[in-house]
């Protein structure tokens, strides 16, 4: 849980209030100036009414250069960030041809498969020559090749379930599966900090949605008991089915889900469990099999396991793994399988090759090395940051670590100062996080060496001093104190 110091909360509210007041003032002048010049949209309502894009026009545009930074190389541990300039006070940004070589702390490259890999890339190019970059057809019509069949088997084996089905995009996987499984008269209970794709899928399904407090199994139990006892709203008929949706690693908090308790509660109340392992598959666990392996949960207890290949496998797409009947049913009814183009064959080959590397089936131990490296890197980085006095969220072993910033002015300050020192970080603010809790999010990769991490720590420490985000006192060096104590005895 994040406990924000009172003074910081006050200053943050004050800053937002000031920005809001200035924004309203400028809107007022803009309205007067627009009276003079008439637009040619007579009779049409504007695409965005006044307050809908207030946040975008008056707050976001000021710090627009911290987001959407283009790169011109692969998103590896070091990459080239393209410089942009603005002639009209950040309203529009133009690309230049200058690039800066920066350390990458922002891309989702957990196992280092982002750039051209010695085992994967030759095989990917082979597949490209054999199967072309796309099949231009849906899976049920003529888009299933031998590569797709091999991929699904490979994924099912890796995750530990009998069967799997693969789609071309992770977002669509969530949005198209939930409407098929849950309809009117069903209940979806989802964690309060679930990703937008799950929220959209739940809304599109027509089922009733209830939310439980983030990662609190006791509150989940309370909600389940209440809902089963009350039944459907207004008619009080019993629910048709109940599904609990949780994520493996929450991308904005870096926390692991409390899976064993949640699974036992769901078993007791006969609810189905849907686990979204977008960030955790391939990145945690002894052999990279995700949250279930790390926390010791049997995969047969989780009804539906979903994940994406964008983060740890360096490709694109999403999968659903479950029992054979479930996958057969999904292949017959899911709109993403019936109407969307199948996953691109080179991307499929990348996934197969990277799974082989992780499992060690390519004949080398690179997979085990990568997994050990990412665990080591994450734990080292997190403990060092905490020692320096930053407020870092997340559990041990999780490669995602958010650093709290709180004040809106510190967001662009942190981002720009780090870029000046050749470190690229990601800062997140409202609406992806609550208004007061803006943060910078670091994603560690197995491709980072110890020197890279030490440099990053130096830069972050100096920028942190400059910007003022060391909210906790730094730990003093322990060795001197222990030396004195030994002397006394």
């Amino acid at each position: 849980m994040i406990t924000i110091p009172y003074l910081t909360a006050l200053t943050t509210y004050f800053s937002y209030g000031l920005l809001f007041a200035f924004g309203q003032l400028r809107d007022f002048f803009r309205k007067i100036l627009d009276w003079w010049s008439k637009s040619n949209l007579q009779g049409y309502a504007p695409i965005c009414l006044g307050l809908e894009d207030f946040y975008i026009r008056r707050l976001y545009l000021r710090i627009q250069d911290c987001f959407n930074r283009p790169i011109s190389s692969s998103p590896d541990a070091w990459f080239d960030v393209v410089e942009r300039i603005s002639n009209d006070n950040n309203k529009t940004l133009k690309r230049t041809t200058r690039v800066t070589r920066c350390l990458n702390l922002g891309s989702y490259n957990y196992l280092g498969f982002a750039a051209a890999d010695e085992y994967c890339t030759p095989r990917v190019i082979e597949s490209l020559k054999q199967f072309y970059p796309s099949t231009c057809s849906t899976r049920v019509d003529g888009g299933t090749t031998t590569l797709h069949a091999e991929l699904e088997e490979c994924v099912a084996n890796f995750v530990g379930k009998p069967a799997a089905v693969v789609f071309g995009m992770g977002y669509v996987t969530n949005s198209a599966i939930l409407p098929v499984l849950m309809g009117k008269g069903s209940l979806i209970i989802s964690d309060s900090l679930n990703h937008n794709s799950i929220v959209n899928g739940a809304r599109g399904s027509g089922a009733t949605i209830r939310v439980f407090q983030h990662n609190t199994p006791s509150h989940l139990e309370k909600v389940l008991r209440e809902q089963i006892a009350e039944g459907q709203p207004r008619t009080h008929r019993p629910w048709k089915k109940i599904m609990v949706v949780v994520e493996g690693i929450y991308s904005m908090e870096g926390e692991l889900c409390k899976l064993p308790e949640i699974v036992s509660i769901c078993k007791k109340y006969k609810a189905y469990v849907y686990l979204d392992e977008a960030h955790s598959i391939g990145a945690v666990g002894k052999t990279g099999r995700g949250v279930c392996e790390l926390l010791g949960v049997d995969t047969a207890d989780v009804d539906i396991m979903m994940g994406t290949f964008t983060k740890s496998f360096g490709s694109c797409g999403g999968y659903i793994a479950g029992s054979k009947e479930l996958i057969q049913y999904l292949k017959y009814t899911c709109p993403a399988h019936l109407y969307a183009t199948s996953i691109s064959p080179p991307a499929a080959q990348q996934i197969i090759s990277s799974i082989k590397v992780i499992l060690g089936e390519d004949g080398s131990s690179r997979g085990a090395q990568k997994l050990a490296k990412i665990r080591e890197n994450s734990n080292f980085f997190r403990s060092e940051l905490q020692k320096m006095g930053f407020e870092v969220l997340g559990d041990n072993d999780s490669p995602v670590m958010p650093i709290m910033l709180y004040n809106p002015a510190k967001i662009p300050a942190f981002s720009r100062e780090c870029l000046r020192r050749n470190v690229a970080v990601v800062t997140v603010a409202f609406p992806a996080t609550p208004l007061l809790l803006a943060r910078a999010r670091i994603c560690i990769s197995a491709a980072h060496t110890r020197e890279d991490l030490v440099k990053a720590l130096e830069v972050i420490s100096s920028v942190g001093d400059l910007v003022g985000i060391k909210y906790f006192p730094a730990e003093p060096k322990k060795q001197q104190l222990e030396g004195e104590r030994v002397k006394l005895e």
Binding site: A45, K129, T144, T310
Partner: protein, 485 residues
């Protein structure tokens, strides 16, 4: 005894004196309808006291008894959920044929070479040398995935180049790339249409648009498939008593070439209606981009309508451009708004860079070789001529649409029966004649009610002999299957 009696007498006299006073005092008298009433104040006073007494009583409410823990436990034990999925029937076990080679105009299934009519590779660009080269270069430089959403270092320079190229080709000011064709429509629509807006949409649109409409929570009105009279009457009804046009946004959504029936939307009439009734038009050009119009610029070129009149144009690139993904194009205001409020763009990883560079090369090839479009048009015309005298099946798609849609002339009465018959024809075609076609399949969550049929996707890479063979085989297969019915 005597004193008590006399005390009692005094008290009674006292009370009666007060009573007479209350009754007889001047202000205790009223004259109502000519009748003097005496002592009404006393009665009113008593009434007031009674009222106050009643008000101070608590009203009767049945006591609220929340469920005890034991009762909740019992309810939870008794509750039995439905199974997660219904039981598997025979037709759910259908497995599509697995290709052993690429999905070009000729493919290999089960060791045999077949003519492939299921891949929407309209211009035959799959396997083109230039596209393969640009993909290989991009793979070597950037790897496969882009490892991040567009806002967090997932924007690679090929994405920006691709967006600029598409905008230049179509003549609009800007465009935005999506990483999947299906997500383009269902992310664009909720970004612009909010609760309370009015959307008029054709009833034959595909699932992506239907899902976008559902997520937008606007008021949705369907008009008959490709029927302009129905559209006009609905527009008339929707606007004739609407005075709040300043705040309400109104949209018409149509597809250029409908995936579910192969019809082409008459854009010139739609633009006339749009201007008359002040609606905005959202057009889905997935199957017409690179196909219609003399240089492949789509439906707007086909009908000679300037592209500024269409407010939002979206398309999936998995058809003529032979890559994956989708794009949306329009004025800069429209595109900039989507960069922050379109959920499929903001919350999802960006398109792999090699697919974006393939798209750029595909547009370059298309611009440099307009003869591909003429070849495609010639192929479509040949197929229409060859299939004009087919028995049992009729062509219901537009003569210029690249999707040739064949429907049963006489339906068996149920959709299931129709589908079974069509699948038998398709199976026979594949096994005996080595022609690979696809029947239309519907999901359980799809609301489209158009009848099913057999779809053939024509490509510019199909040769004359391929088309001739297809026509012959179709005639023989339909005669066989429908005769044995």
């Amino acid at each position: 005894m005597d004193t008590m009696f006399s005390a009692f007498e005094t008290m009674a006299k006292f009370v009666s004196d007060w009573g007479t006073l209350a009754f007889d005092t001047p202000y205790a008298r009223a004259v109502v309808f000519g009748v003097p009433i005496r002592g009404h104040l006393l009665v009113e006073g008593l009434l007031l006291v009674v009222i106050l007494f009643l008000l101070s009583q608590k009203s009767y409410k049945p006591p609220k008894r929340p469920l005890t823990k034991k009762e909740v436990d019992e309810l939870c034990d008794e509750w039995v959920p439905e199974p997660l999925i219904p039981s598997i029937t025979e037709d759910m076990k259908y497995e599509p044929p697995v290709l052993e080679s690429a999905a070009g105009p000729h493919a290999v299934i089960n060791g045999k070479e077949v003519v492939n009519f299921t891949s929407a590779n309209y211009l035959g660009l799959l396997g083109h040398d230039k596209l393969q080269d640009s993909c290989i270069k991009a793979l070597e430089k950037y790897g496969v995935g882009s490892c991040g959403p567009r806002g967090f270092y997932g924007t690679i320079d090929v994405h920006l180049d691709c967006e600029a190229r598409i905008a230049k080709f179509l003549g609009t000011s800007d465009s935005i790339l999506y990483s999947y064709g299906l997500s383009t429509m269902f992310s664009t629509i909720p970004a612009f249409c909010k609760k309370g807006d009015v959307i008029v949409v054709d009833e034959g649109v595909h699932w992506g648009i239907q899902n976008g409409l559902h997520l937008s929570r606007s008021t949705i009105i369907y008009f008959k498939h490709n029927d302009m009279k129905s559209l006009e009457s609905i527009l008339e009804n929707a606007t004739h008593d609407n005075k709040r046009a300043k705040k309400l946004r109104r949209y018409i959504i149509v597809e250029a070439v409908y995936q579910n029936s192969g019809q082409i939307a008459p854009l010139d009439e739609i633009i006339k209606l749009k201007e008359k009734y002040r609606f905005r038009v959202i057009l889905d050009e997935s199957n017409s981009f690179g196909v219609l119009g003399s240089s492949g610029r789509g439906l707007t070129e086909h009908f000679n309508v300037p592209i500024e009149k269409v407010d939002i144009v979206t398309a999936a690139m998995g058809h003529a451009l032979a890559t994956e993904g989708g794009f949306c194009t329009g004025s800069s205001r429209v595109i900039d708004h989507q960069r922050l409020s379109s959920s499929g763009y903001v919350f999802s990883a960006s398109l792999p860079p090699y697919l974006a560079s393939a798209a750029i090369t595909a547009i370059d090839v298309l611009e440099g070789h307009p003869d591909l479009i003429t070849k495609l048009k010639a192929n479509i015309a040949t197929l229409h001529k060859g299939l004009s005298d087919l028995q049992g099946l009729e062509i219901v798609s537009h003569p210029e649409s690249p999707i040739v849609f064949l429907r049963l002339k006489r339906s068996t009465g149920s959709t299931k029966g129709d589908l079974q018959l069509l699948e038998d024809i398709a199976d026979h075609l594949l096994k005996e004649h080595s022609i690979f076609v696809a029947t239309s399949k519907r999901s359980t969550v799809d609301k489209c009610k158009l009848p099913a049929g057999i779809r053939l996707f024509i490509s510019a890479a199909h040769t004359e002999s391929d088309l001739g063979k297809a026509c012959e085989s179709l005639k023989r297969a339909t005669a066989l299957v429908l005769a044995g019915q």
